[in-house]
């Protein structure tokens, strides 16, 4: 009995120590994982500013060299059509993300809120579109696009991306709309709003996180996409960055400093869009509206 307090004290002390050790281990693990994730980007950047003579130095230098050159960042726009490709990609990715989110939102809302014949089947079809590998879709699409004159054009490429992404956007947003209590919309209808007014005043503001993540998802997929872009667009003037970037690898020589510079530049827009939208991604906007 008399020993009990000190024993309890010891017990309390030990778990404390092991908890700290556990935390440290976890922190170390996270740091390592972060380093693995970030290193390629770091290496990309460091290579891009390395003078071309030191590109293949052995052993490789981990730190940027003292005589780093940033001139590639200027010359690359003069030597290649990177500017045009970037602009093409921005147009295609933005167009795809905006349209996919908008069309997806409309479809998802009706799937989530209305009962109609074939609703279950439609949902199944949306899923089914995701079961085919891209290359399988690309061939018939190529034939179709060539018949209706959509090849070699950025709107055509956008349409191709929409075909891939609208079903995904719809499924993503439907899950989101399903999470918004119907009672909120009913309250708005009774308060005097129309169905469409309710959609814009209540449902849409509450689904901003969902819309933001859907937009971001579509933007990044369209930004990175290579297969369709490479097949459907042949004129270098209409290339997107992914195709343009790939064209740097020549048959005999690959200018690694240019490739890495372009790659760094290409990563930026996606990062900017992400930074801009990330505050919506984390917020749970519906908190507190309804109980339970």
């Amino acid at each position: 009995m008399r020993n009990a307090p000190s024993a309890r004290h010891g017990e309390a002390f030990l778990p404390n120590l092991s908890r700290i050790a556990g935390r440290l281990a976890l922190a170390a693990l996270i740091l390592i994982l972060c380093a693995i994730a970030v290193f390629p980007f770091y290496w990309m950047f460091v290579t891009s500013i390395r003078p071309s003579g030191q590109l293949f130095a052995y052993p490789p230098e981990m730190l940027p060299s003292a005589n780093s050159v940033f001139s590639t960042y200027v010359t690359i726009f003069q030597d290649t059509a990177l500017g045009t490709w970037l602009w093409n990609s921005i147009r295609v990715a933005l167009g795809t993300a905006i349209l996919a989110s908008f069309i997806g939102a409309m479809m998802a809302y009706s799937l989530s809120r209305f009962r109609f014949q074939g609703r279950g089947f439609t949902e199944y079809l949306l899923l089914a579109t995701q079961m085919f590998p891209g290359i399988l879709l690309a061939m018939p699409m190529y034939v179709l696009f060539s018949k209706i004159g959509l090849l070699n054009s950025l709107p055509g490429l956008t349409v191709a991306y929409l075909a891939l992404l609208v079903p995904v956007a719809t499924s993503l947003l439907k899950t989101f709309f399903d999470g918004i209590p119907v009672a909120l919309e009913e309250a708005s209808l009774i308060d005097g709003a129309s169905r469409i007014g309710t959609f814009f005043r209540i449902t849409l503001p509450l689904s901003l996180p969902g819309l933001a993540s859907t937009f971001l998802f579509c933007f990044i997929i369209a930004w990175d996409e290579y297969l369709f872009a490479q097949m459907f667009v042949r004129q270098p003037g209409n290339w997107t960055v992914s195709v343009g970037l790939a064209s740097f690898s020549g048959e005999y020589v690959t200018p690694w400093d240019q490739v890495m510079t372009a790659a760094t530049i290409v990563t930026l827009p996606a990062a900017i869009v992400f930074l801009f939208l990330q505050r919506y991604l984390v917020h749970g906007l519906t908190a507190g509206g309804v109980k339970g």
């Binding site: 009913e186 009774i190 509450l206």
Partner: protein
């Protein structure tokens, strides 16, 4: 000021009748409570009146005008939802003013009205908070405020108190009743809680299986239930129902069953007899309508004590005899000497006896 009328109103969901041809007149300023077990069709009825569900049969009239095909926004009604349904991205003030903004009220008028309502509901200090920063009771008051702010024709409330804790529920119950009486707005209130129904409504509509079992004042409902369902749904504990038959005894007729031996008045017999076909019927009385009376052995209800529940201000004694069982309400002093298994005899107040058909459960009204 307005009235509502339901005519043969029905709702069918995939072959299942949720609401089955109900008829009801709601007078101006009335506080009508729909009460019944879950799935009885009370919420569906309310939602049809609100216009959130389409009726599959029958008519809804609001203020003498057919409303079946009027959209919710044009019915001029307000509704309080069970889970409050406050707009989470708006502040309390914006929640309150939403309906006014949709009606293009001027800014000054909106501000004045919001301040008025906020003051009456004690919400003034909370106007700039979001719903997530409010307690359950505060959210409930905002939901009420959103309903009263534009003085609608009809108030619809769908179990608005079921998410509050017991103490707050009693408080808010009184608050809503007071508000309704002072505003005089016709109100339809849905609940599964019969205490809420009894304390709040002028008229109570008891529903079961999609049908109205009885629509009446709380007093009538309690004293003269239309059938065994109402008898057992209204009142805690419910009305005692004992199975018995008519039998002659010493030149008189008595109702006799397990533990039952009650003389029946002659004038009651003339009504009762033709309605009892196979001889069996149910006799009903409230737990407070019997008195412990050791001398009543052959002239009342008897049985052995089965469960004794002390509630502090009163005690409930469950008594069993064969197929019959009943509950007696008595003072704690009277219940104190009773031990489980004791034989108990009670005399029954003859004016409070009710009769029901054993087959259909319908009440048999006797003089």
């Amino acid at each position: 000021m307005s009235t509502a009328r339901l005519e043969q109103l029905s709702k069918q969901y995939d072959g299942h009748l949720a609401v089955d041809r109900i008829n009801l007149d709601i007078a101006d300023g009335e506080f009508v409570v729909f009460v019944g077990p879950s799935g009885c069709g009370k919420s569906t009825t309310l939602r049809m009146i609100a216009g959130l569900e389409r009726a599959t049969g029958g008519e809804i009239w609001i203020d003498g005008k057919p409303a079946n095909h009027v959209s919710p926004r044009d019915r001029d009604i307000a509704m309080v939802f069970q889970n409050y349904a406050l707009y989470p991205h708006m502040t309390v003030a914006q929640n309150l003013s939403y309906a006014l903004r949709l009606r293009n009220w001027s800014r000054a008028d909106i501000d004045r009205r919001v301040t008025e309502v906020a003051r009456s509901l004690d919400l003034a200090p909370l106007l700039h908070r979001k719903p997530s920063q409010l307690s359950g009771g505060q959210r409930q008051r905002v939901a009420l405020g959103r309903a009263i702010i534009r003085e609608p024709k009809l108030f619809l409330m769908d179990e608005p108190l079921s998410n509050l804790d017991a103490k707050l529920r009693v408080q808010t119950r009184a608050e809503i009743t007071r508000l309704q009486r002072s505003l005089g707005i016709t109100t339809i209130y849905v609940t599964h809680d019969q205490t809420e129904a009894m304390t709040m409504g002028n008229k109570i509509v008891v529903m079961n299986g999609g049908r109205i079992q009885q629509a009446d004042t709380p007093q009538q409902l309690y004293q003269h239930p239309a059938n065994t369902f109402v008898a057992q749904f209204i009142g805690t504990p419910p009305m005692n129902l004992l199975r018995c038959r008519l039998e002659p005894q010493d030149g008189a007729i008595v109702a006799r069953g397990a533990g039952v031996n009650i003389p029946i008045r002659l004038e009651s017999l003339t009504v009762l007899r033709p309605k009892i076909r196979d001889g069996e019927f149910l006799i009903g009385f409230r737990p407070e309508d019997i008195v412990m009376d050791p001398g009543a052995a052959g002239n009342g209800v008897t049985g052995s004590a089965d469960v004794i529940e002390g509630l502090g201000h009163e005690s409930l004694v469950s008594v069993k005899e064969g197929e019959n069982a009943f509950i007696a309400r008595m003072s704690p002093e009277n219940a104190a000497p009773i031990r489980l298994g004791d034989r108990l005899s009670f005399s029954v107040n003859p004016d409070r006896l009710r009769f029901f058909s054993a087959e259909s459960g319908e009440a048999i009204r006797v003089p």
